[in-house]
């Protein structure tokens, strides 16, 4: 007789809260009376879910017969995604795209994607894994295209949809092959089925092809070169708040499952995939950093830089050690702060000037608006890995893990990549603080103004919904650069969820 699995509703509560919240937000958007409260409602949902997640800290539990597991690692990743989602809600206030798409729809799509991320970080089964990754992706395809009047936005959504589907298809094919080799969809079952007593299937070509296809599928989602071509276009075209959400939260969630899947299900075959992932990381570091050189659009630049950063983050997984995974979590958290500070400023300047996200939009910002210039400066210095920022400690952490794991050559790649990256991060700083200060033109000049351009908001740079996230994120970048211990503890507890020998 069929035995229904026992469900621990307490441990499942963050997911339930998000799902319920999503419906409430969607409904609230329909009624004019409460329409204005939608962003606040969304923040409340995110806050509740985060609270429930924190409540489950230190209490690892298997959920729904082992289809999911809530542990420190998944909570850590989910909290990073929650932070970014909350910031995205703030950045979206007064965003054109929200009006175009409808506030209720926009925010419920955001929550839907967030739900996918939380599920993904907890997935321990191929089916949950795939369902979660689609729950994450499909709302994002739509969100990218929400700025209906911008050609770039629609193009971005379509491009993301096609490339994303290709990635999902590859991933699914890989999963099928792994299921074929092991006869199980559970991560633990795969490890037992292939790497078990006989262990004869480790060298099987179909099994190896399965691993490779899964890695490629995940590389699409985490924008690791050479599967990154969609990244700059999609980042540039999407509404900027959505870009900031994609850049960090998607990456965090996809890396979460990347780590869990490769460590728990395929850890026994680490010797087979370690070198391949190391090469992927190295390619990503080089391609991303070189691609970002000379970009005029800040969003494109951050897109390419995201490719490079994905390479750094992936190198934390390559060594398959606890130190490596802690470094990965640490770097992701730091990356969230650094990107958030940058994107908040870009959003503000997009609304203030006619230059959109061009580097011109921040020229002379240091004198004009120090409150915006400092967060962007700190973010750029942090991404470039200069000391007294969380970026430096993050790189230090990664390099130490790599050297300990006998991947010193990859550490050298990180160092070289960082060097190249100075050549595109520092010009942004230079544009803000150095050189001629031309007053930013209030009236649209001939170049740059397009009929589809959004109306400008000359006060955007003073609105707390933008300045506050930027300032807080920048403060966090410096704080954890000087006193990194709390974040190190956080990362170490997260990585302790894995049974490394």
């Amino acid at each position: 007789m069929f035995q229904a699995p026992e469900i621990d509703y307490g441990a499942l509560s963050p997911v339930i809260a998000l799902t319920a919240g999503l419906c409430v937000v969607l409904l609230a958007g329909v009624f004019d009376a409460v329409k204005r409260a939608v962003p606040a409602l969304t923040l409340a949902v995110i806050g509740t879910a985060s609270g429930l997640l924190i409540w489950r800290w230190n209490d690892p539990t298997e959920l729904i017969s082992g289809a999911m597991r809530i542990d420190e690692f998944s909570i850590a990743i989910a909290l990073i995604a929650m932070t970014m989602a909350a910031a995205t809600v703030l950045l979206s206030i007064r965003e054109r795209a929200v009006e175009e798409a409808g506030s209720g729809e926009y925010h419920s799509l955001l929550l839907g994607s967030l739900l996918g991320m939380v599920l993904l970080s907890q997935a321990t089964n191929l089916v949950t894994f795939f369902v979660a990754i689609e729950t994450l992706s499909i709302p994002l395809y739509v969100l990218c295209a929400t700025n209906l009047r911008k050609e770039g936005s629609l193009e971005s959504g379509l491009k993301y949809l096609i490339v994303g589907s290709l990635g999902s298809a590859t991933l699914l094919y890989g999963m099928a092959l792994l299921y074929g080799a092991s006869g199980s969809t559970d991560f633990a079952g795969i490890a037992a089925g292939v790497g078990g007593a006989e262990g004869g299937l480790v060298d099987d070509p179909l099994f190896l092809v399965g691993i490779a296809m899964c890695a490629v599928g995940l590389a699409f989602k985490t924008s690791i070169a050479p599967f990154h071509q969609w990244t700059p276009d999609v980042y540039q075209g999407a509404p900027t708040p959505v870009t900031s959400f994609m850049a960090v939260a998607t990456k965090a969630a996809a890396f979460a499952v990347f780590v869990r899947f490769f460590v728990e299900a395929l850890g026994f075959a680490a010797d087979e995939w370690q070198p391949a992932l190391a090469v992927l990381a190295a390619i990503s570091i080089v391609v991303g950093n070189v691609g970002a050189l000379g970009q005029r659009s800040l969003k494109r630049m951050l897109g390419y830089s995201g490719v490079a950063q994905a390479g750094y983050i992936l190198s934390g997984l390559v060594v398959v050690t606890e130190a490596g995974v802690s470094a990965l979590v640490f770097y992701l958290a730091g990356y969230a702060f650094m990107n958030l500070a940058a994107f908040a400023v870009i959003v503000a300047r997009e609304r203030e000037t006619i230059f959109g996200d061009e580097i011109e939009s921040v020229r002379g910002l240091g004198a004009e608006r120090p409150l915006l210039a400092w967060p962007l400066t700190i973010s750029m210095l942090g991404l470039a890995g200069l000391p007294a920022t969380v970026g430096f400690i993050g790189k230090l952490y990664l390099i130490e893990a790599l050297v300990e794991g006998d991947y010193t050559w990859l550490a050298v790649f990180i160092a070289i990549g960082t060097m190249i990256s100075l050549a595109y991060y520092l010009p942004v700083v230079a544009a803000m603080w150095m050189g001629g200060r031309e007053p930013s033109p209030a009236a649209p000049a001939i170049a740059g103004a397009s009929p589809e351009a959004d109306p400008l908001d000359p006060d955007a740079g003073r609105r707390p919904s933008l300045v506050l996230p930027a300032a807080l994120a920048a403060a966090a970048v410096v704080f954890f650069g000087v006193i990194p211990q709390p974040l190190v503890d956080f990362a170490e507890q997260a990585s302790a969820a894995f049974p490394f020998s």
């Binding site: 802690s326 240091g366 004198a367 210095l381 890995g385 200069l386 000391p387 007294a388 430096f392 400690i393 790189k395 230090l396 952490y397 390099i399 130490e400 050297v403 300990e404 010193t408 550490a411 050298v412 990180i414 160092a415 070289i416 960082t418 060097m419 100075l422 050549a423 520092l426 010009p427 700083v429 230079a430 603080w433 150095m434 050189g435 990194p484 211990q485 190190v488 503890d489 170490e492």
Partner: protein, 512 residues
């Protein structure tokens, strides 16, 4: 005490942000002066006979990674710290006397630069050292880029500065990897520590030392800069604002040389011995190249810049003589050179203000109505060319003495550098101060504000000329400790010992 030395400048810098524009410069100068006072108190309390670290601070900083916040003072860094404090007071005061664009930020960056530099000198944890070494770049990136000069027909100030940053960081990021590799290899699976003293106790295998040595060496040689790695120097020097350049050239270049003494020789002794001749070769090339370039340049900043390359070549040669004499001389010469080059850039600034140009060919006759200025400049010039009687002479003498002991061929080539320094230093002096005065050039005495900056620096030069033992006596024990593993025992007894114990001061040699 050590902590307050390190953080006082930065604290003053932050408070200065909230003061009115006009007060920012004076507040910063006060901050630098307070730092100097703390440094002097520390120096007075310094136990001169001891080799080990004094006034140490040691706190766990990042437990999981084995990084400690550990500072300390010994004979190697005591006088470099004093030098930093002195030069910074001068540079900040010089800037405060003049109108600065966006003064809050300018002086914040100046003081952040001081904290970072002091941190690099004080750090006793390898990773902390790398951190401060990199951090030094951030304020100078802003100072050079935002307050620098765009050159007509050349790179703009931000571009020139970017080049400098990329050059320097190439070295220091690889150094980061190398530092971590050193600690991981040394730990051999155990608890990781970055403590320089602990790493020096049990050097890692010679094979690993071989590649790690170069990662460190390149970082330090770029910073100095040494021949072949100096590509960033001309553009950056031409772009830099002069007060910042005075401290940069006076102190930051020494961090590279200091790094060799603090980190490379003790932690990688086998590799240091193995590559001794190669490093000496680079040092000699720097001496020759720097001197020849200093002959031919007409831009007065670049004359000072290239002469620094030559002087730092000398210092490197002294360090890689791998004998106590050479290293003692190198430490002395680091201080000397800092004390000489900082006023030199102040003088360059004054000359440029008077003549409206930085081209040697359009200058001349400045001395006519300015005897005091001429006298001060002459003292600086004579010290630069290591006139007997100046502390620079003692420094170069020690370096050559050490070099003769260990590698006589190199010593003979290095001697030519002494002769050449006389040529470029006197050429700079003559062409600016003597000769016919071009039309429209005014010769007038320096005013009080510049005098207040220049005279104390020149007094330091003169004082040190009378009593170089002040430094030699205190560095010797630490230098011997630093060299213990890389120098052969007979080269560890320095000439300085004999001189120090004698009742009379004899600059030349130890006998009779």
């Amino acid at each position: 005490m050590t902590n307050s030395l390190l953080w006082t400048p930065l604290a003053f810098g932050f408070v200065g942000l909230f003061l009115p524009r006009r007060a920012a410069g004076w507040w910063a100068t006060l901050g630098a002066a307070v730092t100097l006072a703390i440094a002097i108190v520390l120096a007075i309390g310094f136990d001169s006979g001891a080799a080990g670290l004094q006034d140490t601070v040691d706190v766990t900083w990042i437990a999981g990674l084995g990084v400690d916040y550990s500072l300390g003072i010994d004979g190697l860094n005591l006088f470099l710290i004093l030098l930093t404090a002195v030069v910074w007071v001068a540079g900040t005061a010089f800037a405060a006397f003049r109108e600065q664009d966006r003064p809050h930020l300018f002086f914040l960056m100046m003081l952040l630069g001081e904290t970072a530099t002091l941190g690099a000198f004080l750090a006793q944890d390898l990773l902390l050292f790398v951190l401060f070494f990199d951090l030094m770049l951030v304020p100078f990136y802003f100072l050079f880029g935002a307050w620098g000069n765009d050159r007509v027909g050349g790179p703009s100030a931000p571009a020139a500065t970017l080049k400098m940053i990329v050059y320097t960081l190439i070295g220091s990021l690889l150094m980061l990897v190398a530092a971590i590799a050193t600690a991981v290899i040394a730990a051999d699976g155990g608890e990781i520590t970055f403590s320089i003293a602990a790493l020096a106790q049990n050097p890692i295998a010679a094979e690993s030392q071989r590649w790690i040595f170069w990662f460190f060496a390149v970082a330090f040689l770029v910073k100095m800069p040494a021949f072949l790695l100096h590509g960033w120097m001309p553009d950056a020097y031409r772009a830099a604002p002069l007060p910042a350049l005075a401290v940069f050239s006076g102190v930051l270049a020494k961090v590279g040389a200091y790094g060799f003494l603090r980190v490379v020789l003790p932690v990688f002794p086998d590799a240091s011995v193995e590559f001794q001749e190669l490093l000496l070769l680079i040092a000699l090339a720097s001496i020759l190249y720097g001197s020849v370039m200093a002959f031919t340049q007409t831009n007065i900043r670049l004359i000072a810049g290239y002469s620094s390359i030559a002087q730092l070549g000398f210092i490197t040669a002294g360090i890689f003589a791998l004998s106590a004499d050479g290293a003692d001389g190198a430490v002395l010469q680091m201080v000397n050179h800092g004390l000489v080059v900082a006023p030199l850039f102040v003088i360059v600034a004054i000359l440029a203000e008077r003549s409206g140009t930085e081209d040697l060919r359009e200058m001349g006759g400045m001395a006519a109505r300015a005897p005091i200025f001429a006298a001060l400049f002459l003292i600086v010039t004579l010290a630069t060319l290591a006139m007997p009687g100046s502390a620079n002479f003692i420094g170069e003498f020690y370096i050559l003495n050490g070099l003769f002991d260990s590698k006589i061929v190199f010593a003979f080539v290095a001697i030519s550098g002494v002769a050449m320094s006389a040529y470029y230093a006197l050429r700079l002096y003559q062409r600016t101060m003597h000769n016919r005065r071009p039309d429209g050039l005014e010769s007038r005495e320096i005013d009080v504000r510049d005098g207040l900056v220049l005279v104390p620096l020149v007094l330091c030069i003169v004082g040190l000329a009378f009593y170089p033992q002040l430094i030699l006596k205190r560095t010797d024990a630490s230098v011997q400790q630093a060299l213990a593993k890389s120098a052969s025992p007979e080269k560890l007894t320095s000439t300085g010992r004999n001189v120090g114990s004698g009742s009379t001061y004899r600059p030349v040699g130890g006998e009779k």
